[in-house]
């Protein structure tokens, strides 16, 4: 019985530590994908400005409220616009950005294929 109680205590300690670590990881992941609007070329995670520190607290609060990563991005997008996100969304301004690598890959592939066929013949 004593062993069982000891096991339960250990289990809860490990579980709560793991869950805190996961939350902290997610918070870091989110803040790394947010642009510090008053800094030059720094993410919120990297910056120590007042704005970035407030955003870090806010992200933590929102996670504690149960919001998902995407919901937090949407919330911040509604406040500051898409510029706050490092990962640009697929829209009319970013068609080229997203499609160019695929296009280059396809064209490159076609050229290699053509060369390959020519060599074979």
């Amino acid at each position: 019985m004593r062993f069982f109680k000891f096991f339960i205590v250990i289990f809860f300690l490990v579980y709560s530590n793991l869950s805190n670590a996961q939350d902290s990881d997610l918070k870091n992941e989110i803040t790394k994908n947010l642009r510090c609007l008053i800094c030059q070329g720094q993410s919120v995670y990297d910056s120590d400005s007042e704005f970035a520190n407030s955003l870090k607290i806010l992200v933590e609060k929102k996670l504690n409220e149960g919001l998902k990563e995407k919901q937090i991005y949407e919330y911040l997008k509604s406040k500051y616009g898409e510029w706050i996100l490092y990962d640009p969304e697929f829209n009319k301004n970013t068609y080229f950005l997203w499609l160019l690598p695929i296009l280059m890959f396809l064209i490159g592939g076609a050229i290699i294929l053509k060369l390959f066929i020519q060599k074979k013949n």
Binding site: L37, E50, N53
Partner: protein
């Protein structure tokens, strides 16, 4: 065997790359907030200077002008704009609400004692999260509110020119 790739493909690739980089050059890398967009005021909870609980819906009434001013005693430009806020406070058509941003309460009180208090209500934003609700990113920043909508966003200190503009808007 001579490898022949149509010059047409090269031209197309070149043109696409040129077009993308040319477009990219025109984009600004500096964050320029949208000052003209009318937005509804956010719903938030905060504490007042007297430690009373404050709910945004209770204070912002329709058909009235409000100026929400984000300030702090450690902020030097806030000192510059303070005299203009005091002038604006004399206008009857507008209420000024101060949001004390990441400040020491004692220092904030000294600041107001020294420069006068132009605010009808002062709210506390100890961790800066209320300012984020407003889409602000620093101090000083002000929001002119009418009918529960932000009609003007002012980034930086209020000056004579902006004061005149606000006075015209509230007439």
């Amino acid at each position: 065997m001579k490898i022949k790739i149509s010059p047409f493909i090269y031209t197309i690739i070149f043109l696409i790359i040129f077009f993308v980089f040319y477009k990219g050059l025109q984009n600004s890398n500096i964050y320029t907030p949208n000052l003209k967009m009318e937005k509804n005021i956010p719903s938030f909870k905060a504490k007042t200077f007297n430690n009373d609980k404050f709910i945004s819906e209770k204070i912002f009434q329709k058909d009235k002008f409000y100026l929400l001013n984000i300030w702090a005693s450690w902020c030097v430009p806030c000192r510059e704009e303070h005299s203009f806020l005091t002038k604006l406070n004399k206008e009857e058509k507008i209420k000024i609400i101060g949001l004390n941003y990441k400040d020491d309460k004692k220092n904030a009180k000294i600041f107001l004692k020294e420069l006068s208090n132009p605010y009808d209500v002062i709210l506390l934003d100890e961790d800066g999260t209320v300012a984020i609700e407003w889409g602000a990113y620093g101090v000083p920043e002000s929001f002119l509110i009418y009918n529960n909508k932000i009609v003007k966003k002012i980034i930086g200190p209020i000056n004579e020119e902006l004061l005149t503009e606000i006075k015209i808007l509230i007439q």
